[in-house]
Symmetry: C2
Subunit: 409 residues, 2 copies
């Protein structure tokens, strides 16, 4: 909800809504942070694309799937239209996330590495499973919905730096709902659609690990490995940002009193982040930029990773002071940052479990702050408290139509 | 058009139309052989699924793509709505078929062998290119439409024996149109979406042959290798059927005067077709069933490959008389059939270039007969002459809305 609000006003989201408008049936449901209405398939598309737009949404750590974006939007649209309770939606959502992440886990890490955008390719299964649950499909119909989804799974990594990402993420949400509706109408699929000899997993290049996919159902929960990001940057940079923010608070010195910043971490951090920062996409995976925003501005929110921040002369100058060093002993996703001042002092902060990681999940107050930021970006700051209360109230059976009214214009 | 008419009344096509009806925008276009109306995306889906339903539609021999099913339907819907001429539609269609078959050729035969339903996975590119042409997109927008299609390409072979096939073929038509509309609205894609390091071809497991894809544009025409089937069975059985029909006409004897039938052909024919015939899907790839319908009924139309024909006691008994023999000297896709009568005579017919193959394309009268069969199945036999005249008149600029009025209820 926070991430969809944050991206709702982007021209690419507006364009998707405009393209879909003439192709929308009469029963219209709400777009998060926007004023138009679309039918449930259209709303599922736009809300999913918006939720994943900034890669700032939740992450399933074993697979790098952003699991909620393709799954929640079709549920919200169905529930808004048909009056399902918050409890029913949460139940279906958790089921959908579990199916999505288990299928993704069974083909990871090869699937993503080969070029499949796993949030899209596995999201369609999550959306199909979740919609099947909310629509109360039988077991056979649910199996059919999942099998049909195997023939609608799409999305390539090469396209991620472009609006084409929206098309595969939005498509996963929309097509998952469509597959559930077709299964409800009697459509069937092959029993081995996902794991069979000429099925989804092998066509995509992987032998699925069926134990990871199907083992310990109801006991092992992939959904428990889903966490929320505090910063709209690659998760591997979060420990560095935490360390720099800690040093910023501890040192309370002006940026021009800092002579040099040394960031130490494992090879993955250096591989992904030791680079020149020219575009806002570079900024999200840049060691120098992450250090600069945290030490100069004392924050690392959405505004700190937009093009205006990249082009900010103060940040441009500061990035030149940042140096990365490989530390073979550093644990994965950790960082150690040393600030050396112009008068020769030095101060170090080390972070092993970054905020928002599985070992250090964001507290509710931070999630609420993230939603407030999103509401502000959408021009709905006066609704933020209401939206927050309605989201926290979902497991008490709160009304989805009320939530969507609060979150839309 | 003939194949979509033939399948239009199938319950799976009716179910697709019913599921899409509540999700259709106000500008409704026609469904071939049916009475409902859907918006252009919905009509593209249903008409594409129907056209490919029986695998009786046109075939591009180098790839086994059925190229027209995903490409023509979105064009017909756009043209019906916006008044494009038959000439404009034909121009866009040929362009779309060419793009689709070239991309498919560049990843064949590995792509299909790995489990990708190439009609679906490449059809979306053809639909995107064709719609881009009809919508008069710029070169940059057309490139974007093709790149977006790379993130919507889906469909697995494992699902082909089920209605899930409809979902990927219909999806290719619908999503290709959507990609063109998104590109028109400013959506972009990665320059290497199709052939890049993490793009479509490599994610799907293939290094694309860029010469086959892009070489001799405007000189070499893949579309010239597209031909039409005379029988709704696998093409490899067509020479056998031709030979048996010739013998049926030559011998003019009752089936019970035939003691034995020996079918000789290459290994591919035997691998695919020497089997028990239990279902209508078996019948489409069965040496004994192909011989039985041709020699007993003297025809091999749609009715001869339905379950009722499989269960016909006369055909069941006759199939037991048919024996297949490998002939190492037989050319591919040829067949030699010997009929031995109860009174000891024997007669042989050999066919090397089956009807409907590239060397022996169907004459127009056979195409017209195929359309008449389809119109009859759709309950529109009184419209057949009108539909035929309108299709032949397309290159004279005939009106698409008139054609669709004639072909719908």
């Amino acid at each position: 909800m926070a991430c969809a609000l944050e991206a709702a006003s982007d021209p690419a989201i507006a364009a998707a809504a405009a393209v879909l408008a003439p192709f929308s049936g009469p029963a219209r449901t709400r777009l998060i942070g926007r004023g138009e209405r679309l039918d449930a398939m259209g709303a599922a598309f736009v809300n999913a694309a918006a939720a994943n737009f900034l890669d700032y949404d939740d992450t399933h750590f074993p697979t790098a799937i952003h699991p909620t974006a393709p799954v929640a939007p079709p549920l919200l649209a169905l529930a808004e239209q048909h009056g399902h309770s918050g409890e029913e939606v949460l139940h279906a959502l958790i089921l959908g996330l579990e199916v999505e992440c288990r299928i993704g886990h069974a083909v990871s890490p090869g699937h993503y590495a080969r070029g499949w955008h796993i949030t899209s390719t596995c999201g369609v299964f999550g959306a199909a499973a979740a919609c099947a649950k909310l629509l109360r499909l039988t077991a056979d119909q649910t199996e059919a919905a999942l099998g049909l989804a195997a023939s609608q799974s799409a999305g390539v990594v090469e396209n991620l730096p472009t609006a084409a990402k929206n098309v595969s993420v939005g498509g996963a949400a929309r097509h998952g709902l469509f597959c559930a509706l077709l299964a409800q109408a009697g459509y069937t699929a092959a029993p081995g659609a996902i794991e069979g000899r000429l099925g989804w997993a092998r066509a995509m290049g992987d032998e699925a690990d069926l134990d990871l996919m199907l083992g310990d159902l109801g006991e092992r929960w992939e959904t428990a490995d889903v966490a929320f990001k505090p910063y709209p940057a690659g998760f591997v940079f979060h420990a560095e940002i935490d360390a720099c923010l800690a040093l910023h608070d501890r040192l309370t010195i002006a940026p021009d009193q800092i002579a040099e910043v040394v960031v130490r971490g494992d090879q993955l951090l250096l591989d992904r982040g030791d680079r020149e920062t020219v575009t806002n996409r570079d900024a999200r995976v840049s060691i120098p930029h992450a250090a600069a925003v945290a030490l100069v501005r004392g924050r690392a929110g959405v505004a700190e990773f937009e093009q205006a921040a990249v082009d900010d002369p103060a940040l441009w100058a500061f990035r030149a002071k940042v140096r990365a060093e490989h530390d073979p002993a550093a644990p994965p996703a950790s960082a150690s940052v040393t600030v050396i001042t112009t008068d020769g002092r030095s101060e170090t902060a080390t972070v092993t479990d970054a905020r928002g990681g599985p070992a250090n999940p964001l507290p509710d107050t931070d999630l609420e702050a993230k939603l407030r930021d999103g509401a502000r970006a959408a021009g709905l700051e006066d609704r933020a408290d209401d939206i927050i209360a309605r989201v926290w109230g979902l497991d008490g059976g709160a009304d989805i139509a009320g939530l969507m009214r609060a979150a839309a214009k």
